[in-house]
């Protein structure tokens, strides 16, 4: 009996040891890491802001874009050439794991000096927790438009990130199919419906569209809706609580989503992004409502595709392009090399960085006035300067639980399955927003 107890004790000890080994194995690199950076941190702070002389400093930088590592290498080289005392250690993590890794690092105060910030509410919540350095005085930050900076602006009104790139959503169309049938870019909603009607009569699917994936529904609504409410005027009213989602303009936007149904592919309720993308690049469908991030893929799938896009015509005879900021870069408020980190962010706000970025990644740089080698990307960039309206659900209504964005997606799906009327969709959206959106709570 006694011997048994000893055995049990022995095995527990063993288990304990193994557990300890496991733990220290995990924690191992981080103290060593911080020791190293801590050391160089001293030299860094002694050098202060003056980067003229002194020793080299390594600034750590975290991102969720593993696929961009190569491109960043070139961009960072350009920076390091001008700032020989600063070395940037770019470290990307898997996108889906990034938030967890970053949050735990920030909590244990072992976070990076520079971090990529998720856009809008989810990202700036880090500022509320005191993890971010305000950047209002960063040289160059004033060049960005207010809408762009909004993606990295905290509830206290301070800017916490340098915006990186813009996403836009619009209606892509097949130029060849349009020309064959004597069609041109529609200038109004009725024009759009007329175009769709003509295409349908010629046996071409007007819209490559599927209702199986909810996020594509809110994305498409984000393109259609600003046409009914003329872009920003209504957005501002909503934000100030002078209008809500039961306003006639918004109700009409949902009705228009329904009005498009006859021009969708057969069985569209069961189609996902893959199916609709295929319909478009195989030239079975003439139009495709989707994001700037689809462009490169579409061109790759069918290099012969004569692709172009048009922004959404509005009721007052204008057009709007729906945009939002896709991530920005921020400085950790407890950064070991704050001065050097700020120096790099200053670089990220320059046109030089914007051009490097846009050409390297074929995306719209958030830096104003940057040109790329791709004419369609340039057209998107221009329109996003002159005719932009925010993707309302991502920019302002990605909060709540489930988020108002998700609520809209689910309700639109219900509408396309004939379970909800447009008025019921609006009610659901309003109810969700009222549960958290401060101006609606009053």
């Amino acid at each position: 009996m006694r011997r048994f107890r000893i055995h049990r004790f022995g095995s527990m000890m063993l288990a304990g040891l193994l557990l300890l080994a496991g733990c220290s194995g995990n924690a191992g690199p981080s103290p060593a890491d911080s020791g190293q950076t801590g050391q160089s941190g001293q030299t860094g702070s002694s050098a202060g802001g003056s980067t003229g002389g002194g020793e080299q400093v390594t600034v750590s930088m975290h991102s969720w874009r593993v696929e961009d590592a190569e491109g960043y290498k070139k961009i960072i080289e350009a920076f390091e050439k001008e700032n020989p005392n600063i070395k940037i250690d770019f470290k990307p993590f898997k996108a889906t794991e990034y938030n967890t890794i970053l949050n735990t690092a920030l909590q244990s105060e072992s976070g990076p000096d520079i971090l990529q910030l998720r856009p809008y509410a989810p990202g700036v919540s880090l500022a509320e927790a005191g993890h971010l350095e305000p950047l209002d005085n960063l040289p160059g930050i004033q060049n960005f438009s207010k809408d762009v900076l909004a993606a990295a602006t905290g509830k206290d009104g301070k800017v916490y990130g340098v915006p990186l790139s813009l996403n836009s959503t619009q209606i892509y169309y097949n130029k060849k199919l349009f020309e064959q049938h004597g069609l041109s870019e529609p200038k109004s909603w009725d024009d759009l419906i007329g175009t769709a009607k003509t295409l349908k009569e010629k046996g071409i699917i007007p819209f490559a569209f599927g209702a199986k994936e909810g996020w594509l529904l809110s994305l498409s609504h984000g393109v259609i809706a600003p046409g009914t409410y003329n872009g920003n005027a209504f957005v501002n009213k909503i934000l100030q609580g002078q209008a809500d989602f039961t306003s006639p303009e918004f109700v009409q936007s949902i009705q228009r989503m329904q009005e498009l149904v006859p021009y969708f592919p057969e069985n569209f309720a069961g189609l996902d992004l893959n199916d609709t993308r295929t319909l478009f690049f195989t030239e079975k469908a003439a139009m495709f409502i989707n994001g700037s991030f689809e462009l490169e893929g579409l061109q790759k799938m069918n290099p012969d595709l004569a692709i172009d896009f048009f922004p959404m015509p509005t009721e007052d005879g204008n057009t709007v392009l729906t945009t939002w900021v896709d991530g920005s870069y921020a400085v950790n408020s407890k950064a070991k090399h704050k001065a050097e980190a700020l120096k790099f962010l200053e670089f990220m706000a320059t046109k030089q960085f914007g051009e490097l970025f846009a050409n390297e990644f074929k995306r719209i740089s958030a830096v104003p006035g940057v040109q790329t080698s791709d004419p369609l990307v340039n057209k998107m960039a221009e329109l996003s300067q002159s005719n932009a309206t925010p993707y309302l659900m991502v920019v302002h209504f990605a909060e709540g639980n489930p988020t108002t964005k998700q609520t809209l997606e689910n309700a639109l799906q219900g509408m396309y399955l004939n379970k909800l009327t447009p008025e019921q969709v609006v009610d659901e959206v309003q109810k969700s927003a009222a549960s958290w959106f401060p101006p609606f709570k009053k």
Binding site: H7, A15, Y120, N267, F268, L279, E409
Partner: protein
């Protein structure tokens, strides 16, 4: 004597790795989920201790309560359909193979085949078959002149859940069949002989003699099916994603849990670890208690041979 003691000492070490893994990956997460469920969460930062608040939210606040009962209902349907379709067919097949019809060896392998595929592959495969535009099923219906039967199977809320469950049945039949077959084959030949001599034939033989004797495998399969039905996640996720699309018609408790705890839509703003943990605890209680009770009750009806 001494030698024997030494080897005994060693014996205690053998279960250690398994135990360690079990504690680390099963026992510890259950307890941590329970503690997590008692806190308020701001994103992934733990906030104040709130006691049972998360559980109350789950059951009393819209839309959480609606989504819970909606998903719960789907789990029940999952269980019922699997019991009838999967286990019914599996038992029939096992019985045929047990009676040694021609080619039973081949059949055994053929029915078990789907099980060799990973669930993700199965989901992808059936997504292709059920695709409304170019899927094999709708094409086949068209060829048979039944165009009006063609449907967006996974996009129509009336058929989506059933389609997924039937795919799960297709996937699970082989395993259930093997369990039943093992049960059937463990019945002593003499017992059946004796029953035959006493004049039992056909249905009588099946229902009065064979079924009670294979009750242990039926018990096991029922509990298995229950656990599987209430933890249904992979296939739903592979075929429909984390939103229980379309229109929450394929939501199950595990998918709902995933959405709550890890945020299905990719944004980080709507993660609610507290609610997710509370749901995980509820799910654990449902599965553990029902499994325990049903094992206890059904064991009573088993016959020893």
């Amino acid at each position: 004597m001494k030698k024997r003691g030494k080897s005994r000492w060693l014996l205690h070490l053998f279960p250690l790795p398994a135990l360690l893994i079990y504690v680390m990956f099963v026992v510890y997460p259950i307890f941590s989920a329970f503690t997590y469920s008692m806190y308020e969460w701001k994103g992934i930062a733990r906030g104040a201790f709130v006691g049972w608040d998360n559980f109350l939210t789950l059951f009393q606040v819209e839309p959480f309560n609606k989504m819970f009962w909606n998903a719960f209902g789907h789990n029940v349907i999952y269980f019922v359909v699997e019991m009838i379709v999967q286990n019914g067919i599996a038992f029939a097949l096992a019985f045929l193979i047990y009676r040694k019809i021609r080619g039973s060896g081949f059949l055994k392998i053929a029915y078990f085949m789907p099980r060799l595929l990973s669930v993700i592959v199965v989901g992808f495969l059936w997504k292709l078959i059920l695709n409304p535009n170019y899927g094999a099923l709708n094409t086949l219906l068209g060829k048979l002149g039944l165009e009006e039967w063609a449907k967006p199977w996974l996009g129509d809320p009336d058929t989506a859940l059933l389609a997924i469950i039937l795919v799960n049945c297709w996937f699970g039949i082989g395993f259930a069949m093997l369990i039943f077959l093992a049960g059937l084959q463990s019945i002593p030949e003499e017992l059946i002989e004796a029953a035959r001599l006493d004049g039992a034939r056909g249905a009588t033989l099946l229902f009065r003699i064979i079924l009670p004797l294979v009750m242990p495998s039926i018990t096991i399969m029922t509990v298995f099916t229950f656990i599987q039905a209430f933890e249904a996640f992979e296939l739903v996720y592979a075929m429909q994603g984390s939103q229980g699309e379309p229109f929450r018609s394929t939501d199950t408790l595990a998918v709902y849990f995933y959405r709550l705890a890890f945020s299905g839509s990719g944004g980080a703003g709507d993660v609610s670890i507290g609610l997710g943990s509370a749901l995980a605890v509820v799910l654990f209680v449902i599965v553990a208690s029902v499994s325990a009770i049903s094992l206890k009750l059904m064991r009573k009806r088993e016959v020893q041979h």
